[in-house]
Amino acid sequence: MSDESAIQDSAVAISVEIGLDLTYFSEAGEKNLIHIPVLLGYVLLHWFLEGVVTGVGEGVGEGIDRGAARATRSLGERVKRLFGRHDRSSEADAKLQAELAAQASVAVSNARAAVVSGAADEIARVAEAYEIALVGYLTDEGMPGRDALRIAQRVRAEAGVQLRAVAPSR
């Protein structure tokens, strides 16, 4: 299976996990959200992997938590851009999906390089911080905690799938 195909599978798996909870990501009152979930799957996977790269660079400590909390603001902006698009045609969706897939692919490559040089416990600590930050972001959008936890766990698990091949053994 190619990297692109595996990354798409992860984005789809995240979108399936989001499922009927998609409304929490959109502006209050916005409906008719067909076709958004997979795009959102790419955005969340990209955001999480980017966080792993940044977090491993920041080292173990409170800096990771602060970095993860800061990163949720950037997630909010990305999600807002996704839902705020004017062109919702299927052609525009396909073009955007290709862009997001390419960005996610770069994020996977960068994260793989970062985990090779990082210690396993440090990477786990970073992943934990970003999972918690994602739960915080989602509950701040009104999502019940159990659903936020379920979705954040899925994002972390899919990021893990992408990194597993090169995870350090130390």
Binding site: V12, G19, L20, T23, A28, K31, I34, H35, R146
Partner: protein
């Protein structure tokens, strides 16, 4: 004419004894006096409760062709009096038609108020334990009626959702009371609020209960109640999605009332919390519950339209078109969208993508 003794028996069965009641008629009302005479009024006098107002204009015709058809079926069933099953079925249809009436919720709510008044408020004494016992028994009995109302069906999702919310909110406050006395006071206050002789409709009472709790600083408790109801509604939807085609609809149908209960609570909370971020969170919770309820309701309508498999056949045709034009992955995503719109359980995914047949996807639109 003495309305109380000469009116149509079916009408009397619905309205009960009309003496003392105000019948809405044209632009005004007719007050039925104790001797059975009627007195025309342009407006309702002050202090008349909603339970004493009857909309007789509703008897002129039914609202939809489906209801007319059901009425005709019930009449034809009664024309075969030798078959007891036919009479039972006719009775069930009568119940469904009664539940379709626009005043059904008001009528049942008026009954609930009378029960609350006679079983709890009129029977109160100084002993807190007895008050608690009566208050909780009232809630137990209310909750025990809900499956019958839902499965009858004797009430719609909004009625049952409102009653779920009323019961859960009252219980939540009582459960947190620090002493027996305060628990008794909380039950009496809440049940009195519900039973008050006011024309406020049932969903307005749910919103009022929420507002009272939030003003008392119990916003977290309101959120706990909403989350618990949401959890039950979402679990029923998840159960439907994991079911096979034959057991897909019952949990989906049951979920609607829970989601609508959350809509009522969350909208009331969004309207009265002061912090705009809190209001946004409540609004998003309401949006999600409403979206789920609408999708479940649409799916039930789809089930009726799909009785001969034609509607699902159109979905299959569309998926074949997507697969031919855009490939397997695109067709799979489209099929997953149909599942997330709650048209099919997940077990139908291979059937939507392949050539297998199932009860929901009898392919007729080749």
């Amino acid at each position: 004419m003495d309305v109380a003794t000469e009116a149509d028996p079916e009408w009397l069965e619905r309205v009960g004894d009309p003496r003392g009641k105000y019948l809405k008629h044209g632009d005004g009302y007719i007050h039925i006096l104790e001797n059975g005479d009627g007195r025309a009024l342009r407006e309702l006098p002050d202090g008349v409760s909603a339970g004493d107002v009857v909309d007789v204009t509703l008897d002129v015709s039914s609202a939809t062709p489906l209801q007319d058809r059901l009425t005709a079926i019930a009449q034809s069933l009664r024309s075969v009096p030798t078959n007891p099953n036919a009479l039972v079925l006719a009775g069930l249809i009568d119940g469904i038609l009664a539940a379709c009436r626009p005043d059904n919720t008001d009528r049942l709510f008026a009954q609930l108020k009378r029960t609350a008044m006679s079983e709890v408020l009129d029977a109160m004494g100084p002993d807190a334990t007895v008050v608690i016992q009566r208050g909780r028994r009232f809630l137990d009995e209310l909750e025990a009626r809900l499956p019958g109302l839902r499965n009858g069906p004797r009430g719609d999702g909004r009625l049952i959702g409102s009653l779920l919310a009323v019961s859960a909110l009252i219980r939540a406050v009582a459960d947190r009371a620090p002493s027996l006395r305060e628990e008794a006071v909380s039950l009496v206050e809440s049940i009195s609020y519900v039973a008050a002789p006011s024309p406020v409709p049932l969903d307005g009472v749910v919103q009022g209960l929420c507002r009272r709790m939030i003003r008392k600083g119990q916003v977290d408790l309101v959120r706990d109640v909403a989350d618990e109801l949401k959890s039950q509604g979402d679990a029923l939807i998840a159960q439907a999605l994991d079911a096979d085609a034959r057991s897909f609809y019952p949990p989906l149908y049951a979920s609607i009332a829970y989601e609508l209960a959350v809509v009522l609570i969350a909208k009331a909370a969004a309207a009265c919390v002061e912090d705009p971020d809190d209001a946004r969170r409540w609004t998003k919770l309401a949006d999600n519950a409403e979206e789920r309820a609408v999708r479940a309701q649409t799916s039930l309508g789809f089930a009726v339209r799909n009785l001969d498999g034609t509607a699902a056949g159109l979905h299959l045709a569309r998926l074949r078109e997507v697969r031919a034009d855009q490939g397997d992955d695109a067709a799979r995503l489209e099929a997953q969208d149909l599942i997330l719109q709650l048209y099919y359980p997940r077990s139908e995914l291979p059937i939507l993508l392949g050539s297998n047949r199932s009860p929901l996807t009898k392919d007729r639109a080749k």
